[in-house]
């Protein structure tokens, strides 16, 4: 017995919201990255759910795209974080505000 579609979507929304709050409130960039990953995967879950319930594979294809993109994004992001750490000896995102107007 498979749970109804709405449950999956609610789970997806809950995961996404947790991710949003994580991005907004945490200071550690690594945790922020994890939160972003959570939002992306929440979106993936929604894609797959719809794909299953509508009987079309397009959503599942998109989920793979999202995963690829997420991997690339993490690579770039981690590179930036490590070079910031090399310069400032700190990775607190609130310290990185030199573009302040």
């Amino acid at each position: 017995m498979i749970a109804p579609t709405s449950h999956y979507l609610i789970l997806s929304a809950v995961l996404f919201s947790i991710g949003v709050v994580g991005v907004l409130v945490r200071k550690n960039p690594l945790v922020i990255f994890m939160s972003i990953e959570m939002m992306l995967n929440a979106a993936n879950l929604a894609f797959v759910t719809y794909s299953y319930s509508l009987g079309k594979v397009g959503g599942q294809v998109l989920a793979f795209f999202v995963m690829t993109m997420a991997a690339a994004e993490v690579v770039v992001g981690l590179a930036i974080i490590s070079s910031i750490f090399r310069i400032r000896a700190s990775i607190d995102v609130d310290d990185v505000s030199s573009l302040k107007g």
């Binding site: 949003v20 991005v23 907004l24 409130v25 922020i32 995102v93 609130d94 990185v96 505000s97 030199s98 573009l99 302040k100 107007g101």
Partner: protein
């Protein structure tokens, strides 16, 4: 041949292009020859047109020659068209004939000048513009020629532009003429408003029907035309530029500022006579301005020390005669005097130029004297020109001036006052021109030794035109008698009787003709004898007389302080307005607006920059808020179902 009349314009145009573009690079010497040839060829074509027109019946002697369609806008359609009629053909012959002689003379006079090619380019450009002015078949083309002569006059007055006073003399001429140009423009605007067209034939044939006699519109149009004419012809109160225009080379003074361009005002009034005849009040103004200018500038001419300035004031005075003539409706007399004046005034200028050339640029009469042996050709030329100018019997000026004096008395638009002014001017004319003559050519030499040592006679290119013009100044008056008296009146009759009735004479005026002639000749002779006594028999008498009336002498020497008055009234006021604008107005108004705008932007930016916190979190929140709003909006309009 009539349909080839555009060749008259083509030759000077080619001459101008040659000297301006090619000649100065290839061979500067060729510019003088090509320039003279171009004007000469125009003269030949003009003669051919003249003789063909002579063979036509009088009524048919008015031919419009549209060359191409020029301005087409709505109901207005103006062709680039010429009007060939006795008046324009007469002007063409004067302009190209005298112009040719002066071009030949310039070959000698300008020899060795750095701007030789530029000089001939500008002279040809002037002739082109002047011919366009007189051949134009509508008021718009007239304006093109009018502006063209103004420009070339400016460029030639400032020809030796390295001297600041020459440059400012050119500017003065240009500015004064611009006032006239504005008057002319507004006159043409009013003509277009009234008639809906600008071609001469259409406007003149409808004039009597559309303009009420002596009405406000007719008067306004002709007075505005008069502003233009007075500026070009150096009449009071726009006369100030002409004496200063003598800063240009002497051939320029002869061609532009004596024989041709300055007569454009007279031509314009004669051309627009159907309009003037509808506004008798304005005609009184024309005649009064003419008579006053004639007297006013003759008195200034009495004391000027510079030989070219004496001739300049004489030119103004003679133009005053022409204005007087056209003001009282004696158009043919005015045109006749225009022609003879072109002969003898060009001659006087060329002879004076010969003297100046021989003295290496000396123009001051106080440093001449006894020159008759040194430059005999110029001496004879100047003498004949002076006699013709003074109205000596049987020379050209005698006939034409006599007609004007007679018309001033005898025309119904004339009056005893105008006639009296003309007669007094005759006396002054005889005096001032012979004062210059005796001071330059007779008496003891006051030439500076250094200059006297290098004195040389003018060459053939200068002497030959002087000789020809000497002949014309002697015999030019007899053109009026070819085939019976009044030949020029008969030639011009088809023009002046075509659209309007000429001004009739006062009844019984014929009896005045002979006494007036005697009186005016006598007055001219008195002037000449007076000058002879004062400057030859009793040298030094002039200083004594000047000493009796020092105030009057200074007044005349300073040209009635008109320049000072204008500088006070207009230049000072203009400066004052300029300072007002550049100071307070610019400081508060313009600067205020410009700086205010900058300050608003700056202040807004200072306020807005606070949004840029630099915290990643704030940007993320903004993205979230934006995304949320978009989603809500889409839900609201039903974009998401």
């Amino acid at each position: 041949m009539l349909s080839y009349a555009w060749l008259i314009l083509l030759f000077p145009l080619l001459g101008f292009l040659y000297s301006a573009l090619v000649g100065r690079l290839l061979s500067r010497r060729s510019c003088g020859i090509v320039g003279s040839l171009a004007v000469g060829l125009s003269f030949v074509v003009g003669l051919a047109v003249f003789f063909e027109m002579l063979g036509m019946p009088a009524e048919a002697r008015s031919v419009e020659l549209p060359l191409w369609s020029w301005i087409v806008a709505g109901r207005l359609s103006v062709p680039f068209g010429l009007l060939l009629d006795p008046l324009s053909v007469m002007m063409v012959l004067i302009v190209t004939g005298v112009g040719f002689l002066i071009h030949v003379y310039s070959i000698g006079y300008m020899h060795g000048d750095d701007g030789y090619a530029r000089f001939f380019a500008l002279m040809n450009l002037f002739v082109l513009a002047m011919l366009m002015l007189v051949l134009a078949g509508n008021f718009l083309l007239l304006i093109v020629g009018w502006g063209g002569v103004g420009f070339s006059s400016y460029a030639l007055i400032s020809f030796w532009f390295k001297k600041p006073e020459n440059a400012s003399a050119g500017t003065k001429a240009f500015v004064t003429n611009s006032i006239g140009d504005v008057g002319l423009l507004f006159a043409v605007f009013l003509i277009y408003l009234t008639f809906g067209r600008v071609d001469y034939m259409g406007v003149f044939s409808e004039a009597a029907g559309r303009l009420p006699f002596d009405g406000a519109m007719a008067t306004a149009i002709v007075l505005l035309l008069l502003v233009g004419a007075a500026a070009k012809s150096a009449q009071i109160p726009l006369h100030v530029w002409l004496p200063d225009a003598m800063a240009g080379p002497t051939p320029v003074s002869a061609l532009i500022h004596a024989a041709t361009m300055v007569t454009a005002g007279v031509y314009l009034i004669a051309r627009a006579h159907p309009l003037y005849l509808l506004a008798p009040t304005a005609m009184i103004v024309v005649a009064a301005i003419g008579a006053l200018t004639a007297l006013f500038s003759a008195t200034i001419g009495l004391v000027q020390p510079n030989i070219k300035r004496v001739l300049a004031y004489s030119t103004m005075s003679q133009l005053g005669y022409m204005f007087l003539a056209v003001g009282v409706g004696a158009y043919a007399a005015g045109m006749f005097h225009l022609m003879t004046h072109a002969f003898f005034k060009a001659l006087l200028f060329m002879a004076a130029g010969g003297v100046i050339h021989a003295l290496a640029g000396e123009e001051d009469l106080r440093r001449m004297g006894g020159l008759w042996k040194a430059v005999p050709g110029m001496y004879v030329g100047f003498l004949v020109g002076a006699l013709a100018l003074a109205g000596f019997p049987l020379l050209s000026g005698f006939f034409s001036k006599d007609e004007i004096v007679y018309a001033a008395f005898a025309s119904q638009r004339g009056s005893a006052v105008l006639g009296a002014l003309a007669l007094v001017t005759v006396l002054l004319t005889g005096f001032y021109i012979f004062r210059a003559f005796f001071l330059a050519f007779h008496g003891a030499s006051r030439v500076e030794p250094e200059v006297a040592h290098h004195m040389h006679r003018p060459g053939g290119a200068m002497t030959l035109p002087v000789a020809i013009l000497t002949g014309l100044s002697i015999f030019g008056g007899y053109i009026q008698f070819i085939g019976g008296p009044g030949a020029i009146d008969r030639w011009l009759e088809p023009v002046f009787d075509r659209y309007a009735h000429p001004v009739p004479l006062v009844a019984g005026a014929e009896t005045l003709q002979e006494p007036l002639m005697v009186v005016s000749v006598a007055l001219g002779l008195v002037g000449i004898v007076g000058a002879f006594l004062m400057y030859v028999v009793f040298p030094g008498a002039a200083e004594t007389v000047g000493g009796w009336y020092p105030g009057l002498y200074r007044l005349l020497l300073n040209k009635y302080y008109v320049d000072e008055l204008y500088s006070l009234l207009f230049v000072r006021t203009g400066r004052w307005v300029g300072e007002l604008l550049s100071g307070p107005a610019d400081g508060f108004l313009t600067e205020g607006i410009v700086r205010g705008a900058a300050r608003v932007v700056q202040g807004g930016a200072l306020w807005l920059r606070r949004l840029q916190t630099g915290f990643v979190r704030d940007y993320a929140l903004a993205v979230l808020a934006g995304a949320t709003l978009v989603v809500f909006y889409l839900l609201q309009v039903g974009g998401i179902r």
